[in-house]
Amino acid sequence: MTEHSETPALRLEGIVKTFPGVRALDGVDLEVRAGEVHALLGENGAGKSTLMKVLAGMHQPNEGRIILEGREVRMANPMDAKAQGVVLIHQELSLCDGLSVAENVYLGELPHTKWGFVDWSTLHARTDEILKKLNCNFDARTRVSDLSIARQQMVEIARALTVDAKVVVFDEPTASLTDAEKVVLFDVIKDLRARGVGIVYISHRMDEIFSLSDRLSVLRDGSYRGTKVTAETDEDEVTRMMIGRSLTHEKNTDTVEPGAVALEVRGLSCGKLFRDVSFEVRRGEVVGFYGLVGAGRTEIAETLFGLRTPTAGTILLDGEEVRISGPLDAISRGISLVPESRKEQGLVLGMSCRDNMTLPQIGDLTTGPFVSNGAEIAIYDQYRDRLDIRSPSWRQAVGNLSGGNQQKIVIGKWLAMKPQVLIVDEPTRGIDVGAKGEIHKLIRTLASQGYAVIVISSEMPEVLHVSDRVIAMYSGEVIRSFGVGEVTEDSLVQAISGIRPDRAA
């Protein structure tokens, strides 16, 4: 570990990547040594994924050099990158369900005989060997559709080991793993490191980064913010590098005295998704739901919005017990949901800004049988001004707007419904930092106007910044509820890892 070779395994110099209207990477440098775990940090949208896609040949950089073991190289496509020893392990699984583990591991390069027949014995032998290295307790013949997500992730990793890898990039590998599976993964990573492979490790989890990495580099808004030796820095410094400020000043301070309880949930369950969840939200209050992906937060929101049928428990609106039969019912009771996935759930991308914004209330905007153009434009204009939406015209298709403006259209759409309870799921995912601040401010303003607001987020700074109270979830259960005064980063991290206060310390 101390003896680094002279030439690093990989060096990126001044990488620039632009997309129409966006400078996603602005002169990024990165150096990964052979036999080190190099963590790459940055907020969502900071450019980590773009950088790795450039490295893996999925994007071509506009400027800059990629130097692999001292030679400047060009990655024409993912195959080319892999052949040169750079392997990207995707955050989203890229496996074929219908094929076996072995076929997925050797996808595109199945060993075969002269006549094009698959050489099964070689294929299975080689794959089993790799799986053994990874301590996987399934074999090469297993069909991928029969594996859990975590095991599918191991298959993804196994792919990296089919070549003589020089650099392996892990993009958020633990997002869907259990603790036991994480231990196996970390062993694999350490094993690779011991064999002299350079590892780039992308993650949001500070604990993982500090226990695993040798050095770390930080990206912010597409530019390089520096590299530190992990042992010589701390979370606070890293956070400052990532978000440009220190976290401790970021807590929400302007709490207003909350009003009456708008929404109360008692013992709500939905199958295995979440169990026995109870909480209440008052008018003028922002309640933040914090937890890992898959902790059941989004599912609670969807249940409140009538998209899922609860298997137990009660929902009370203004003290009255209600059964919410569907989104239409939820809307008529004054519940609005800004969904998690803007493009899949929030917007009809081919439709105009105005039409998207008025969609939930289109049936009420009629004069006679026709939709009233004037009423629609009035609503659009009102929320365009209020949310500062930048679009050339209401006729513009929403798909052509930037992520931030798209998100504001979705928020505007639901504010226009004048809800009693506003649920916002990952309000700033994939949005640039400037727009993020605006949306945070907006959420605070809404609360101060008397809305009861629920914010679901995977970003701790966001939750701390906007919430009056934070509810921490782990694996479908509420672990703890914090007032804004008592919450600390440590306790929050413990809670979302499933450690209850009575058991901790």
């Binding site: 074929c96 219908g98 076929e103 094009g116 698959v118 199958g271």
Partner: protein
């Protein structure tokens, strides 16, 4: 160990529910009709379904790819017309029975070429295969009419029509041809690199591209295979009839797609098998044959077939349902 084997059998059946259905109707017709359970009748079923069966083999590959080919019925007619017409050309009159060879080559060649054309258009233009082959379905039928000038052709050489009736040992040649083709395509799909890539391309195209599989040429090959199979079906059909009519093969695309979907191939691609398709083809064959023997008018078969197709879809939906936890969208 026994339960393990039982589980494997059960699992096989849940993956190929069509075989359960095949057994069911087989038993039903065997019990309810004295003429059904008979070696000669079984051979009849194979011969009767061989035309649709051959095309269905090729269609399975195309559909696992996530594409579809609606032009197969028209290709059947074109190949049949070429086969019957060319063998009677004066140029080959001195060739004896060998005059069938250039006709066969022309018929199969044109079918394969039309498949390649469909595939290349899908590849290069990016237009959905449904639209491309919908166009070809009309266009190729137009070619048939241009070529035949709306005339039917009759085979002058009786050897040709005898071939359709011939047997290999006790088994009809067409049944043998269909079975051999089934085995070959099964091996292609389950054992070769091309076959395994067929699943990859249909199941996760982006992953396939990233893994360096050349998706475009790959799809063209499968379109060529289905074109070849449709042409082969046209040849066998014309030899059974000793003739070719320009309207031959109408609605075949419906029968073929029905057989393939019955066999468990997903329209979205990535899943399916020849064993399933074979079951689907047999199901249609047994139904038609059995109801014919029971003297049910042919049009009831249409209703039953349509209903089964939809029932399979409903069943599939129920099997993959997530239960109470599901998102209600």
């Amino acid at each position: 160990m026994a339960t393990l084997k039982q589980n494997a059998a059960l699992r096989w059946l849940t993956e190929n529910p069509i075989w359960g259905f095949v057994v069911l109707i087989f038993v039903f017709f065997s019990l309810s009709n004295e003429f059904f359970f008979d070696m000669n009748n079984f051979q009849n079923i194979l011969v009767q379904t061989s035309t649709i069966g051959l095309i269905a083999l090729g269609m399975t590959l195309v559909m696992i790819n996530g594409n579809i080919d609606l032009s197969v019925g028209a290709v059947v007619a074109l190949a049949a017309s070429l086969m019957v017409d060319i063998q009677s050309w004066d140029a080959f009159s001195g060739w004896g029975n060998w005059q069938m060879l250039p006709a066969l080559i022309a018929a199969l060649g044109v079918g394969t070429a039309l498949g390649a054309l469909n595939g290349i258009i899908v590849w290069k233009t990016g237009v959905d295969a449904f639209i491309v082959t919908l166009g070809a379905m009309l266009g190729v039928r137009g070619l048939v009419f241009v070529y035949t000038k709306e005339q039917s052709f009759f085979a002058m050489n009786f050897t040709f029509s005898d071939l359709g009736m011939s047997t290999v040992g006790p088994v009809p040649s067409l049944a043998v041809l269909f079975l051999i083709a089934t085995v070959l395509v099964h091996i292609l799909l389950s054992r070769t690199v091309h076959g395994r890539n067929t699943y990859a391309v249909g199941g996760n195209r982006e992953a396939a591209v990233n893994a360096g599989i050349r998706v475009g040429p790959h799809m063209v090959v499968n379109f060529m295979i289905v074109g070849f199979m449709a042409a082969l079906a046209g040849v066998t059909l014309s030899s059974q009839m000793g003739a070719a009519t320009p309207n031959l093969g109408r609605d075949y695309e419906l029968w073929v797609i029905t057989a393939v979907v019955l066999g468990g191939t997903k329209l979205t691609g990535g899943a399916g098998s020849i064993i399933g398709t074979f079951g689907g083809v047999l199901a249609i064959g047994i139904l038609r044959n059995g109801m014919n023997l029971m003297q049910v008018p042919a049009f009831y078969v249409l209703v039953i077939l349509g209903s089964i197709l939809i029932a399979v879809l409903i069943l599939d939906k129920q099997l993959t349902r997530k239960g109470v936890e599901a998102l209600k969208t």
